[in-house]
Amino acid sequence: MVDEVVEGTETKVMTYAEAIRDALRVAIAEDDRVFMMGEDVGIYGGAFGVTGELINEVGTERLRDTTISELGIVGAGVGAAITGMRPIVELQFSDFSAQAMDQIANQAAKIHFMLGGAVNVPLVIRAPGGSGTGAAAQHSQSLETWFVHIPGLKVVMPATPDDAKGLLLAALDDPNPVVVLEHKLLYKTSGDVRVGDARTPLGVAAIRREGKDLTIVATGVMVSRAMEAAEQLAAAGVDATVIDPRTLKPLDSKTILASVTATGRVLLVQEAAGTLGFMSEVAAIIAESETFAHLRAPVRRLSGLDIPIPYAPKLERAAVPQVEDIVAAATALVTEW
């Protein structure tokens, strides 16, 4: 669907951070099993202000400040999830998933399968990724690859306030561990958000814009950059479709393949380092598919450089795709092929 928010649904303008807070509020109110824990999520309001003053509404039992122990808190989330709760764990930066990787990949992801289906692990892990805040290499990564590769995890990457809320609520409904990768630069962006308990189903891509000349697939903060690029391309007579997969795993490859089959050209845009970034999988899926025969140009990936994110503002900017890079790559795809 091109328009996310269905006509007639009541909406409210919120920031992405507020939309997440709203989802937390809704989920905690409607389900006794839901709680969130993380570093500084209480009185501090979250490192990025996501929880804000929520602690005053829901109290310290349902919104738990933890020690700085990422492995421990994800593990505690696993333990709570398999014993009847619906925990959400906030990692302050997605980079710190490195600390928690055993509990994420070796425990949460595998328990259901490994135990022959005897137990479910309805755990949600929220973690902000991405660069653009000058926080340098250890606080700016886009690590979706680590999670998407591991069987047993689901992975979502909301690009709009409405999806930030809707995907989080859908993740909480899911009986499996879901990693929700938010983006720091999006927290302060605003948009229409459905009020109440509005879910965005997992596994369904959003077509943000429809055009006939090429398909741009973009994730996270790259969605809005792709949309901006598409506007500029349109002004230059190039009509682009923009697809936001929203859920990276399970991926709605059908929507992507159908569009690429129709346009014959595809530009894959991500912030993550290119080598084995998520778009490598999308490229591989296209290369393996029937769509292959319909390609009028080779698949093109536009990714973050294969470097740690640098501190200096200009260098940081150069490290990841910008609107002008998307315009240039799309133009080349359309004109050179």
């Binding site: 421990g72 593990g75 333990g79 490994m114």
Partner: protein, 323 residues
């Protein structure tokens, strides 16, 4: 607390459990040796008093988290040995439908949240189960079995830190069998007693003879009572010894034959039998009957497990996600 050796029912139950763990693992060893079992195995022969004593202090709905050396925990908490054996034999009727094997057996119906192939992997999970019990207001307690070697892991530390901060109903029960694979705990941790660690988390710590089922039960009972009444976590070190190698690949080069022999003279099962006889609670005939009963039960469980259909590869992909 009530002496187990003086109560006929308790004594029988203790002996049944300890013998069952011993015989179960001997059977595993045998099946493995005959090529009927796959993978690797970690046997707890010699350590039976720890899970047996600990689980006596627990209700059925209390939780345990277990380890790679988990058969004893699983049996003591009340699992069905046929389904356990079926799992090891890679049968569809196994606890994990043959997907998990020895290192992943769980029986949530008896509160066993699972063995774990990751050293210390169960520690934060136990903390989470205790947090869950606290939040649901159920008065359940979680006992986290772990080895001495596990105390080198960050996961152990973080799990204990959180439990101590929130004063959760969890008992960290270290089965100190003196080695983490080949690493002597004495050398590894620079401590006389591993329970000296507890102070660093502001929680009570105690060291007991892990080959004395009564001592283990009493220490765990005290810790469980404290946890259940809101007094927070406890750390218990139970000193014991693993008779067998760490796993099949172990050549036992890191310890002496004498050391092993010496520890075998502290076998927890005959020690408890002797106490029972001495107290006059049961007769030698009663003991013989228990042993026979265990042997028969096990033999029949192995037969039934073995006769069951193999796990099948059908639906592997569908089994990854719950729906």
């Amino acid at each position: 607390m009530n002496p187990l050796a003086q109560d006929a029912e308790a004594a029988k139950s203790v002996l049944k459990t300890m013998w069952m763990i011993r015989r179960f693992e001997e059977a595993v060893e045998d099946l493995y040796g005959r090529g009927m079992m796959h993978g690797t195995m970690h046997l707890s022969i010699g350590q039976e008093a720890v899970p047996t004593g600990a689980c006596l202090a627990l209700n059925k709905d209390d939780y345990i988290t277990s380890t790679h050396r988990g058969h004893g925990h699983c049996i003591a908490k009340g699992a069905d040995i046929e389904r356990m054996m079926a799992e090891l034999l890679a049968k569809e009727s196994g606890y994990c439908r043959g997907r998990g094997g020895s290192m992943h057996i769980a029986d949530t119906t008896t509160g066993n949240l699972g063995a774990n192939g990751i050293v210390a992997g169960g520690v934060p999970i136990a903390t989470g189960a205790a947090l869950s019990a606290h939040m649901r207001g159920t008065k359940q307690v979680a006992v986290c079995f772990h080895g001495d070697g596990a105390m080198g892991e960050g996961a152990w530390h973080e799990g204990v830190v959180l439990a101590a901060m929130w004063q959760l109903p969890v008992v960290f029960l270290c089965e100190n069998n003196h080695y983490g694979m080949s690493m002597a705990s004495e050398k590894a941790f620079n401590l006389e007693k591993l329970s000296d660690r507890a102070k660093g988390y502001g929680i009570p710590g105690v060291t007991v003879d892990g080959n004395d089922v009564q001592a283990v039960r009493d220490a765990v009972q005290e810790a469980v009572d404290r946890a259940r009444s809101g007094g927070g976590p406890t750390f218990i070190e139970a000193l014991t010894y693993r008779w067998r190698g760490h796993s099949k690949s172990d050549k036992n080069l890191y310890r002496t034959r004498e050391e092993i022999e010496e520890w075998r003279t502290h076998d927890p099962i005959p020690a408890f039998e002797a106490r029972v006889l001495q107290a006059g609670t049961l007769t030698e005939t009663d003991l013989e009957e228990i042993r026979n009963q265990v042997r028969d039960e096990l033999r029949s469980a192995v037969q039934r497990a073995n006769a069951a259909p193999d796990a099948t590869a059908d639906g592997l992909l569908e089994a990854v996600y719950a729906s």
